[in-house]
């Protein structure tokens, strides 16, 4: 009895050290991930002379909304924002319209072509024609430099298809459809009146994945769009953040001299990071559990 208490006492000391190490690691991880995000927020509303000399570290100093003022005056950002909202909403709706019914079909065990079709979908993950043939195809189809190139091509993401199919397989057993079909229920009806209402969770997950992908899409604009009126937000962001074309009139795009203009340019950059990511960051805490769920379902069947 005594020996055991000693042993357990000793063990708990080791355990305490272990728990302490875990706690320290967690705090470190928290700081490393969260601080850069926090810093962008405080830097975007601080006096840029203080930011650029490294004096803003924990709290905003010399409150200034100059950057946000410039952003609201910039018509490029408004155009980009409007385009991206349009592409995101239309694109996501089209994605769902194609992906969900297809996933439903592929989840039905009595549908005999499901294996071969699934293989043909999954094959595209590992092998593709490559950039150049795809680009030529888009040109031949006259999709380049139109808004459709953001919406129609690649409307079915195979990962999302797999997630939805796996969910339908589990949550809509064969017996459920069979008993409904005895009462004269067709697949269309079953899908619309039973499958969809039972699958709100998975529809949200997939809609959110598509939404984020459209919002963050930079590649399509870069490759297929050359007119400024059609460019999405991410291309405008590239011009501002990376090509240093901060002010639309060209004035004050101070180059890399690090001069006075550059400091103001940096404040615009901090602000623009916030403004462009805001829609996602606002909804993020509320939908985080849905995102997580998607990965969980997807991992059941890779």
């Amino acid at each position: 009895m005594q020996a055991q208490t000693i042993r357990s006492g000793k063990r708990s000391r080791g355990e305490t050290a272990f728990d302490a190490a875990i706690a320290v690691l967690c705090i470190l991880i928290f700081i490393i991930i969260a601080y850069p995000l926090y810093f962008v927020i405080i830097a975007s509303v601080s006096d840029q002379t203080l930011v650029s000399t490294g004096k803003v570290t924990l709290f905003p100093r010399g409150f200034s909304t100059f950057g946000y003022g410039e952003i609201f005056k910039d018509s490029r950002i408004w155009t980009g924002y409007r385009n991206t909202v349009l592409y995101t909403v239309a694109g996501t709706l089209f994605n769902l319209l194609l992906t969900l019914p297809a996933a439903y079909t592929l989840s039905r065990p009595e549908f005999r072509a499901r294996r071969i079709l699934m293989f043909l979908f999954v094959f595209t993950l590992f092998f593709n024609g490559g950039l150049i043939p795809t680009y030529i195809l888009m040109k031949d189809l006259h999709l380049t430099n139109t808004m459709w190139v953001f919406i129609v091509p690649f409307a079915v993401n195979v990962f999302n298809l797999i997630i939805a199919r796996t969910f339908f397989e589990v949550s809509l057993p064969k017996e459920l459809y069979e008993s409904a079909s005895i009462d004269g229920c067709s697949h269309f009806k079953f899908y619309a009146l039973i499958a969809m209402p039972l699958s709100k969770a998975i529809v949200s997950v997939i809609a959110l994945y598509y939404l984020v992908a459209h919002w963050n899409d930079f590649f399509t604009g870069l490759i297929y769009i050359h007119s400024n009126d059609l460019q999405p937000l991410q291309i405008v962001l590239r011009d501002i953040l990376l090509s240093n074309q901060v002010f639309s009139q060209g004035a004050g795009s101070g180059g890399n001299a690090g001069g006075y203009a550059q400091q103001f340019a940096d404040q615009v950059k901090y602000g623009v990071i916030i403004v462009s990511t805001l829609p996602i960051l606002i909804v993020y805490p509320f939908i985080q559990k849905y995102f997580e769920k998607g990965v969980m379902i997807g991992s059941v069947k890779g």
């Binding site: 928290f30 992906t99 019914p101 593709n128 150049i132 990071i273 993020y284």
Partner: protein, 309 residues
């Protein structure tokens, strides 16, 4: 009534009649995937032909392996291969274990609210766009005005510009990638850990194993199947370092180490319109990826019975 006695053709027909609604539901998806994923595969032949503007994907005169040999003998070939492999391998070697470690750490946190809060924070950077991510690096690492830039010069590296040096390109690329995706990539491992049979933990406790030993002998073995599958998949992408991030991080100063196959294909093909040559380079890239995927899968199958196919 009994469909078993019917001829196969009749059976197929009656099945089609039964399933026509299912077919209608999957057809739009098939059409889009066929048009945008399979038709370009037909265009792969461009890599073996001259490009002809009037003929599009069908291509012009047959050139065989001409464009491949042009690429292999070009003076950029060595650098492109070296850069592409180096960036991918660095990303895998450092980036692959990071989410596993994070999941093991998070799994030890028993205070549920703290754990949830930490998860919310670490998943967040995943949703930042690549443009914003690189923009973030630019403003934070800038040697004159960035906060990390100040930190670097304050510890004595005044001449180091993290954004424009051939030495720092790969570390910045890889570490920022880990920062952005480590949380998100840990979800799948956390899911695997949550399925561990609780009786294994009880058994470990009975045997006098401490938390550290439990982690080594219960948690890590539980992750092995997931680790193997994800590792095979990541090896299959060894030559496809995400085009966008490398492209956006490129500047004239780091170009010697940052020009990779995908950015080169873009410049040669889309910017300079050398379609056949860049299609050949792209195909070469796809082929090597496929070989890697296949080899890794073969090794895994032989040694562990876990494989993709």
């Amino acid at each position: 009534m009994s469909s078993r006695t019917h001829k196969p053709a009749n059976r197929a027909l009656s099945e089609l009649r039964r399933d026509y609604q299912l077919w209608l539901m999957v057809l739009p998806a098939i059409a889009v995937v066929f048009l945008f994923n399979y038709v370009p595969m037909y265009g792969i032949q461009l890599a073996f032909r001259d490009f002809d503007f009037s003929k599009g994907l069908t291509g012009g005169e047959w050139r065989g392996l001409h464009y491949f040999s042009q690429f292999i003998h070009s003076y950029q070939f060595g650098d492109l291969m070296k850069n592409t492999f180096f960036i991918s391998l660095a990303t895998i070697v450092l980036g692959f274990p990071a989410p596993i470690l994070l999941a093991l750490i998070l799994n030890q946190v028993k205070w549920v609210r703290a754990k949830k809060f930490l998860q919310t924070i670490v998943y967040m950077p995943h949703f930042i766009s690549i443009v914003v991510m690189v923009g973030l690096l630019n403003v934070l690492l800038s040697p004159n005005t960035g906060i990390v830039g100040h930190l670097i010069s304050s510890i004595g590296h005044t001449d180091l510009n993290l954004l424009a040096s051939t030495r720092s390109f790969v570390p910045v690329f890889v570490l920022s990638d880990i920062w952005q995706h480590v949380g998100w990539n840990s979800i799948i491992y956390l899911a695997a850990l949550s399925t561990v049979d609780p009786s294994l933990y009880d058994a470990a406790k009975m045997d006098g194993a401490n938390k550290w030993k439990t982690m080594l002998h219960v948690d890590i073995p539980a992750l092995v199947p997931t680790i193997i599958i994800l590792f095979i998949l990541s090896m299959g992408n060894v030559l496809s370092t995400g085009f966008e991030k490398v492209f956006l991080m490129q500047n004239s100063l780091n170009l010697p180490v940052s020009e990779v196959i995908s950015t080169y294909v873009y410049k040669i093909g889309i910017v300079s319109n050398q379609f056949s040559y860049s299609a050949a380079i792209g195909l070469f890239n796809t082929f090597i990826n496929f070989v890697f995927l296949y080899t890794m899968n073969w090794i895994a199958k032989r040694n562990s019975d876990i494989s993709l196919w």
